[in-house]
């Protein structure tokens, strides 16, 4: 009932032409729309909207491949000359488990691909299973597992 009343009021306010609130006021003629150069320009979208943020793999266009436990070094040379990022950065040094998406900061699709690629890589014997390869322990950090973007992946 309250909702219907509010909707009625809204309708009255929005197009007052359709209702005659008072009997004394005669229906005024609709003013013709005049277009001139001095009129304010109405933009369709806000030009100051920021571009949507993208995850690391989407923004760089890096594709995950199970064959390289160090991920696509040719690609990565373009992004950072001095360092070679590795696949095993997505794996904990302590337990060898894959970090969850609240730590890796990847989108749903990329996180799914990452988990699949790591499983394949382990099955094919390219990657250790229980630990992170100590060779890659000193690779540059992509993210800090102690400072996740959210307290846990379901938050």
């Amino acid at each position: 009932m309250l909702k219907s009343a509010s909707s009625l009021a809204k309708r009255l306010l929005l197009n007052s032409q359709s209702f005659r609130l008072c009997s004394s006021t005669s229906s005024s003629p609709v003013p013709a729309v005049v277009h001139s150069e001095d009129e304010p320009v109405v933009l369709e979208s806000n030009p100051y909207t920021k571009e949507p943020r993208k995850c690391l793999l989407c923004s760089t266009g890096v594709e995950l491949d199970y064959k390289n436990s160090r991920l696509l070094q040719v690609y990565l040379k373009r992004f950072c000359q001095s360092s070679i990022k590795s696949f095993q950065q997505f794996v904990s040094t302590f337990s060898g488990r894959v970090y969850d998406r609240h730590i890796t900061g990847l989108c749903d699709e990329q996180q799914k691909k990452l988990i699949e690629a790591i499983a394949k890589s382990r099955r094919a014997g390219f990657m250790p299973i229980f630990v992170k390869d100590p060779k890659y322990a000193r690779d540059p950090k992509l993210f800090d597992p102690l400072k996740p973007i959210r307290p846990h992946s379901f938050a």
Binding site: R53, K67, S69, Q110, A124, G125, F126, M127, I129
Partner: protein, 162 residues
């Protein structure tokens, strides 16, 4: 026929033995009706962990990695996998299916993930189809009933008769 990548890790072998092992692996694939597109060497690399060669039980720390790219049927995959894994010269063999279809372009949804839970579409979907306990359901029923009953259906004082 599905497209497979056959990754093969051999035990440490001399060059002549390596050629023999590779031709043997290639021939087993071809005998089962596989179409080999490409054979690649991924190089002599350190293994991620120590492996033991079959029969001799020699430790393998580093060895040769090979990759066959082949089309074959699913039955052929099963058979060749068992043959290649039981080969004495291999340490690890895996046949992994690769999608040949072009991958669908999926938009990055990080922006959605970074929103507060109350604003996220996934959370609102969850809340819509939320399971409700019996007590909560009763409470909601009573509340709406009370609201409905509080609306006057008749005048408290009867209007004057005409």
């Amino acid at each position: 026929m599905p497209f497979y990548e056959v990754s093969m890790i051999t035990r440490s072998l001399s060059k002549a033995d390596l050629v023999k092992a590779l031709t043997r692996a290639g021939n087993t694939l071809l005998d089962h009706g596989a179409v080999i597109e490409k054979v690649e060497s991924l190089g002599h690399r350190d293994l991620p962990y120590k492996r033991l060669a079959k029969q001799t039980n020699e430790p393998v720390y580093a060895s040769n990695f090979f990759l066959f790219k082949a089309h074959m049927s699913r039955e052929a995959r099963q058979k060749t996998k068992s043959i290649l894994t039981h080969d004495l010269d291999t340490v690890q063999v895996d046949l992994i299916q690769v999608d040949t279809l072009p991958a669908l372009k999926v938009e990055c949804n990080l922006e959605e993930i970074l929103k507060a839970p109350a604003e996220r579409q996934a959370v609102s979907d969850l809340r819509e189809n939320q399971k409700m306990g019996h007590f909560t359901r009763q409470m909601i029923y009573k509340r709406t009933e009370k609201e409905w009953k509080s609306i006057p259906k008749s005048y408290p004082i009867a209007p004057p008769r005409p």
